[in-house]
């Protein structure tokens, strides 16, 4: 396995830090997840749950994000808990957390404290606003990072409230950006001989995404602003947006003259291309998009999403059905590439989970292992590996530390 020589400790909850360490786990690293007593990672309480009945071991999001990891319960609020934690950090390459900066500092588990005894440690903190700057003490979640990052401003109807990027997608960006940054730090460690602190802010990430994309708008007289199913001013030549068809929506991007002509020809109206009003794709985008939308949709209404998709493939212009997420579970493309894997969860049954979005030539992935039960590996790690005696374990349990 590509990363089988790495050991990762994750003190994380919900999405960003757990997604980050799951990527390492999928590639063979050993990932130990430190969870607080009682309820553990907040994602255990998030769901979805079979039959909508909450259960710490049955949360869909938790199961997806934590497959293959090991779970240790530790009360870090207690000094003995922190002692054990510091032993766990021995021989660890990477520490990943998305805890609030001040709470980590109060526990004296911040980078300055840990790096003294562990100079080679790579310490990665992922938070909504980062460890430095005027908002470092601010609390936030996915929706707040979307808001500050300039994404929400561009999502929704023009006359209504802005929308978040749904399903914690911004927090996932925190996870993948952190994982990539950690690999840079591993490369650096070979050069400089020591680890370092990595400060990842989800708001920064979203701000750079919008900052990059908006350059195609702001420098061309277009607003970076929400405009329903269209990009504002189509973000360039028309068409660029979601369009209604017989049974839902399709996304069409036919910005080049060639693609626009192909689209009209495929829909049986090549004559449009001769009408000056439908030749200037910039004017269509900026001056009368509603008119063109209505004309285009009157043609699209005769076809289903799938018929249009087949048509686009035959004629060679970019169009996709707006699918529902669950359809991917049966998608022939994803199936052929073995993107999904079934995993048997004792309490639930079989679940189909996505794997990594890339294939590496020299590596076949190991079968997925289930996510750990809360504290499932306490015994194995604390007794067998750290050498804590059975008697001490009993005491630690009574004190509420493990």
């Amino acid at each position: 396995m590509m990363l089988s020589d790495l050991r990762v400790i994750e003190y994380g909850e919900f999405v960003s830090a757990p997604y980050c360490s799951r990527l390492f786990s999928d590639l063979g690293a050993r990932v130990i997840k430190v969870e607080p007593p009682h309820v553990g990672d907040m994602a255990r309480s998030y769901g979805p749950f079979p039959g909508d009945i909450p259960h710490l071991e049955k949360s869909g999001l938790f199961i997806f994000l934590n497959t293959g990891k090991q779970s240790v319960i530790l009360n870090l609020g207690h000094s003995e808990g922190r002692q054990i934690f510091k032993k766990l950090i021995d021989r660890t390459d990477i520490f990943i957390t998305n805890a609030f900066p001040r709470s980590i500092e109060e526990l004296e588990l911040d980078y300055l404290n840990l790096s003294k005894a562990h100079p080679k440690l790579i310490y990665c903190a992922i938070t909504p606003f980062g460890w430095e700057g005027p908002y470092r003490e601010y609390r936030g979640f996915n929706i707040h990072a979307c808001a500050l990052g300039g994404a929400s401003w561009a999502i929704g109807n023009p006359d209504r409230e802005p929308l978040q990027v749904p399903l914690n997608q911004c927090d996932f960006q925190g996870g993948i950006n952190a994982a990539a940054a950690i690999l840079v730090a591993l490369q650096a460690r070979k050069k400089i001989g020591r680890g370092q602190f990595i400060d990842i802010s989800v708001s920064d990430i979203i701000a750079t995404y919008t900052g990059s994309n908006s350059m195609s708008y702001l420098f061309y007289g277009l607003k970076w602003r929400r405009d329903g199913r269209r990009a504002w001013g189509s973000g360039g030549p028309y068409p660029y947006g979601l369009f209604a068809c017989k049974d839902g929506y399709v996304c069409i991007i036919a910005r080049t003259r060639r693609d626009w002509n192909r689209l009209l020809e495929a829909l049986g109206h090549p004559d449009w291309a001769d009408n000056p009003r439908y030749q200037d794709q910039i004017a269509m985008a900026r001056e009368y998009p509603e008119e063109v939308d209505a004309l285009l949709e009157s043609l699209l209404k005769s076809y289903t999403k799938n018929e249009l998709f087949q048509m686009a493939r035959k004629w060679g212009f970019p169009l996709s059905p707006v699918k529902e997420v669950h359809e991917s579970l049966e998608d022939p493309q994803l199936k052929q590439r073995k993107f999904f894997e079934f995993i048997e969860i004792p309490e639930i049954g079989k679940l189909c989970l996505p794997r990594l979005p890339f294939r590496l030539s020299n590596m076949s992935l190991k079968p997925l292992r289930p996510a750990p039960h809360l504290g499932e590996h306490n015994e194995m790690i604390l007794v067998q590996e750290l050498g804590i005696s059975k008697k001490d374990m009993k005491e630690l349990k009574e004190k509420g530390i493990i």
């Binding site: 769901g47 005027p134 399903l167 993948i176 490369q187 929506y249 996304c251 493939r313």
Partner: protein, 412 residues
């Protein structure tokens, strides 16, 4: 000031990328010190050069428009630029010479495009056995729709992401302006390439990475897949709701088009919020004291909270709520990135001077590494600016060789 080392210095990367995702992977390498050579040809330019001349201070900038695009400049900073015609046999020979002395190739062509030119991974590893090559295609190198043409929103429509964007209970709107698919794919791609380099250092082996942008979009939508598998429920437009937080939304503030995002993640924070609002009658409902009640009565809460926020300035709301430990943030425009004290402090924008456009504020790679930070150091190259350096200094061609290749439109 102490100069900190660049962690990827010493690596040479060939960037065959187009538009956003491929070039973004390459600029991350460049920001951290790799020597990145972007390869184009005048008859086959990166089409993000073709967006026309920008308008700055109300005036269309004069000059060669392919050199003037701010978008292109952003995603190609810190790189070197060469021209080479890969459709010509001599161009391909020269390309292989360059591959011999490079470490990584990044490409986001349609599958088979490079293979048809005889420049697939199998051919290239013959000249460079420990090559790392990242192919970042729409749906992967094989499979029934691997030939699909797709820009980012086409991919995120196919994955289902766009169907989740819209007001609750209404029809989907998608997020056509924002565009998550490209940077999401780029970061997954950069991660995979770095994993491959890590492995290469341990084993001496090269790695080919077949990455699917569609899969990168699907990989982070597991929640909706599991809702369907567990409960047969299809998730539609999500609005601003949250599974285990209420209130959770974006609310109007005093002023035109002013908004604030607020969420309550505990019963205790709900009580604090009610107090800050001055204990309005609607909030006294005892069933609202617990999350389940607040989730059920989301609409009532959103209306009441919105009435309160609409009388106040957004900055004041954020300060007041955050002082009590309640998550709140202004909904910012993208222009506010230049002025927001926090984003400024964190260096989200970095300045370079472009020879034709002057001062540009580009987007950083937002990873603050304490010992080996990346940085925007050089503006995007002009087309072919580094022909001489790459062909003469790296590959050892003479000036007359180059003139000849230019004459044959191989370097063009």
């Amino acid at each position: 000031m102490e100069t900190k080392p660049l962690p990827l210095e010493g690596l040479r990367v060939i960037d065959l990328g187009w538009v956003w995702s491929g070039p973004m992977v390459a600029y991350i390498f460049a920001d951290f010190g790799a020597e990145v050579i972007k390869l184009e040809h005048s008859e086959r330019l990166d089409n993000s050069r073709l967006r026309g001349s920008p308008i700055i201070n109300g005036k269309k900038v004069q000059g060669e428009s392919i050199e003037l695009g701010p978008y292109y400049h952003n995603v190609n900073r810190n790189k070197l630029s060469i021209r080479l015609n890969l459709k010509h046999p001599k161009g391909r020979e020269l390309f292989k010479e360059l591959v011999k002395v490079s470490d990584v190739i990044i490409e986001n062509f349609t599958p088979d495009a490079l293979k048809k030119l005889g420049l697939g991974y199998e051919s290239l590893r013959k000249v460079k056995p420990d090559l790392v090559m990242l192919s970042l295609s729409t749906a992967g190198q094989e499979g029934p729709i691997s030939d699909m043409r797709g820009y980012a929103p086409v991919i995120s429509s196919y994955s289902g992401l766009e169907s989740l964007v819209g007001y609750e209970g209404e029809l989907p709107l998608g997020m056509m302006t924002f565009g998550l698919s490209d940077p999401n794919a780029a970061n997954h791609g950069f991660f995979a390439a770095m994993v491959a380099l890590y492995y290469r250092e341990r084993t001496g082996e090269g790695v080919y990475i077949d990455m699917s942008q569609l899969e990168a979009s699907c990989a982070i939508l597991a929640e909706a897949m599991l809702e369907y598998q567990m409960n047969g429920r299809i998730m539609g437009p999500q609005g601003n709701q949250h599974r285990i937080q209420s209130p959770h939304g974006i609310y109007p503030c005093n002023g035109e088009d002013r908004w604030v995002a607020i969420s309550i993640d505990s019963d205790e924070n709900w009580r604090r919020l009610v107090e800050i609002m001055g204990n309005p009658d609607w909030a006294k409902d005892p069933t609202l004291q617990e999350l389940n009640g607040r989730l059920t009565k989301r609409k009532i809460i959103d209306r009441g909270l919105g009435e309160w926020t609409s009388q106040l300035d957004r900055e004041e709301i954020v300060r007041t709520l955050q002082a009590q430990g309640i998550a709140a943030m202004t909904v910012s425009t993208v222009e506010e990135q230049y002025t927001d004290i926090h984003l400024q402090h964190r260096g989200v924008r970095q300045e370079v001077i472009h020879p034709l456009l002057g001062r540009e504020l580009l987007t950083s790679v937002p990873w603050n590494l304490s010992e080996t930070p990346g940085a925007v150091r050089k503006s995007a190259p002009l087309l072919g600016e580094h022909d001489e350096y790459v062909y003469c200094s790296i590959l050892g061609l003479s000036s007359s060789d180059i003139e000849k290749l230019k004459g044959e439109k191989i370097i063009y």
